[in-house]
Subunit: 117 residues, 2 copies
Amino acid sequence: MKDKDKTMEDCSKKILAVRDALEIFSGKWKIPIIGALIHFEEARFKDLQNIIGGITSRMLSKELKELETNLLITREVIDTRPVTVKYKITSYGKSCQDVIFSLYQWGAEHRKVIIGK
Amino acid sequence: MKDKDKTMEDCSKKILAVRDALEIFSGKWKIPIIGALIHFEEARFKDLQNIIGGITSRMLSKELKELETNLLITREVIDTRPVTVKYKITSYGKSCQDVIFSLYQWGAEHRKVIIGK
DNA sequence: CAGAATCCGGTCAGATACTG
DNA sequence: CAGTATCTGACCGGATTCTG
């Protein structure tokens, strides 16, 4: 096997892992939601909608379900009147910190570049 | 202004930067493409298609154009017969390293979690 | 408050075929 | 080799309305 083939194979394997991650975080809102929940540790539905901005209840609801399915957050119904619901980040969810932080950093830098033009 | 409001505002601002980044990297293929070009510094169209795997020429072409527009990569036509085209990562494109690496790391960890079940 | 239900347009992305 | 052209189904995600 040639050297080039080996490094190509390595790269392809890495790309598979990246694609796995991208699938979990797919869509417009998951990363912002996780980011907000890492920031606040826990929040209610309406809070999240305010923090994130621009997301409809339909979308927020859908994305929260997927995140719960993937064990990144938990959902807890509190018996008040009217009911409130508390979303919390899991320890597994916290493992996304690096990803989100690097995205934030890059995005912030990118903003400067854009504005600079 | 209450304390909570301040931290909410902070979080919302960060989310904006994250959303900027997500927009640039939107779609299924841009991150893998950038990753491959960081790994190899430069590659040809067909190479990229092989490395990434599963992407159609239509998609690859489209994504490469967007990446070039955003100054993350360059395109150079080489006058051979038949023509070859060399795509290279720019120094700005290299600034995505951290993002991609953290995605790779998380994805690799996530794989273990999934397989472990 | 925290959603569910319904409707709907847009675009994403795959399959396939073709070109210089 | 490095794309372009065309077609098409899927689904993403917004708007709106309604409910316990």
